[in-house]
Symmetry: C2
Subunit: 303 residues, 2 copies
């Protein structure tokens, strides 16, 4: 099965203790699509400005991403600028210029409306809801969000959450949305809001999956060189949803594998600025790191 | 094999968002010994004051801990007082009264000097070194330390480190001792200082083990109720060293299991104030949680 991704397409300006990058390709839909493209075919819906160049399109086209849902609006592409300190788990946004993204009203092409796997990147939850009205009946809808929407559009977010299968968010967002400090309790509350799977992303510390019946803990891959954490969460979602869509089988066992493939793609993502590392991977490299995750976490049973 | 534990014995006064406790039994040697006692026989060396009561001794005796190395000094038992905020990974020390601990010069009873497994709890590294001169040739020496000694007694600590097999410390301490932000690089530097195993304790995020040839990542157990993190690190070391000493076999496979048993004991420790939860466990409960760790981290290989 293919996966439909709706989210932002951006030019990012990023500074980390290990370097910086100016107006480089980014955005949730871009990171997601590139990561997912190693597992299945990807259809992308998003908006860019008139400054989006052929070379940027090529990055997506080279990975076979279907761009029938890519609109070009009058004006400039969405821009984000941020800085990371040595603690790469925390970042500060310096500037956000919505540009064409300000008036983005995602239109799902007719061809995509029967999609069975759908990723709703971190955008206004009213737009996420609007997308849910345009698609027919996806088997698996994954939604990402952030603190801003939890704070400023809580009711809209809760409406969207009621209709999705998987919510991905970080520790702080899980606490914020549930008003519970303890993550086990927080996740239980979130499961009551609609999603039947909650995945808490914890950056270098990995990810936790909660469902009604199971609990899974994936480590972050201990990397020697982390250049830029931007896009790690969306790359994670891309590996995860791409793997599940390709198998077309969502169960405890495949979800656990999918989280490791998501963690694998996130670990590659942060090894370079922008999408550099996600452009030219081989599936053999991905499998190799998946197996490193196996070795990293393996321990024997006791008699 | 038995394990010899040298460290502090304390009365702790602790406040967490979930309650408080006044002058309750604590200290690195106490937490370590109780946790290790579920796996092997434990010999304890430490000092208490004249206010240490029969009921406190009983807590240790009930678990079969050998107290021939327990001195009673003139004056009061060591006291520590601290407070935890909602982020249970961080604590603030409110007060430390060394009392009898100020003049503690550990004397290892002759009977213990041939010990093969030794745990040096977090005390002055000059005392740790002094203990190393008293024992003959342990096969496995585990050392714990803290930021204070890294900052104020670096040379003494490096001398002690040169003679031990395993160092346990937290993220911040690993960065401080190695002067490296990245934990992979930090651990490599620490391995050059002497220990052939470095275990980085990350509280609720679990633990990372580094050796020259392997890397292992253990999760923290996602608990719904965490009352008091005090002693978690020493309970971790107790489960770990106790399991290894009992097997009398230290290799990659048993170290991984030992870390999970350590994590298991730490997860029990934090479920109650002081040593309450570590007093009355059954080995069946410990095995049950070990297997929950297996389920928590298991994922299938891919073809």
């Amino acid at each position: 099965m293919s996966v439909l991704a709706v989210g932002s397409i951006a030019f990012d300006t990023v500074k980390t203790p290990f370097g910086s990058a100016q107006e480089v390709l980014g955005g949730s839909a871009v990171y997601f699509s590139l990561a997912a493209s190693y597992f299945t075919s990807v259809n992308l819906v998003g908006v860019v400005g008139e400054d989006f160049q052929e070379s940027h399109l090529q990055v997506l086209q080279e990975r076979g991403i279907d761009l029938q849902g890519l609109e070009t609006g009058p004006g400039k592409t969405f821009r984000w600028s941020g800085v990371y300190s040595y603690d790469l788990n925390e970042r500060e946004t310096l500037d956000t210029q919505l540009n064409v993204f300000a008036d983005f009203r995602p239109k799902i092409p007719e061809l995509y409306r029967d999609c069975r796997y759908l990723f709703l990147g971190n955008i206004d939850p009213d737009l996420q809801w609007d997308i849910l009205q345009q698609v027919r009946k996806p088997d698996f809808i994954s939604l990402d969000t952030m603190n801003y929407w939890i704070e400023h559009k809580r009711e809209s977010l809760l409406r969207a959450l009621s209709a999705v299968h998987l919510l991905t968010l970080n520790d702080g967002e899980a606490r914020q949305i549930s008003e519970e400090v303890n993550l086990v309790k927080a996740s239980r509350k979130i499961l009551e809001l609609g999603p039947r799977i909650v995945i808490i992303k914890r950056g270098e510390y990995g990810a936790l999956m909660f469902t009604d019946s199971t609990l899974f803990c994936a480590p972050g891959y201990p990397l020697e060189f982390v250049y830029d954490p931007t896009g790690a969460g969306d790359s994670f979602a891309g590996g995860l949803c791409g793997y599940l869509a390709n198998l077309d089988n969502v169960c405890d066992s495949t979800l656990r594998q999918a989280i490791i493939f998501g963690s694998t793609m996130a670990s590659f993502c942060v090894e370079a600025f922008s999408v550099q590392r996600l452009r030219n991977l081989t599936y053999a490299e991905i499998l190799e790191r998946y197996r490193q995750f196996r070795h990293l976490t393996h321990f024997d049973d006791v008699p």
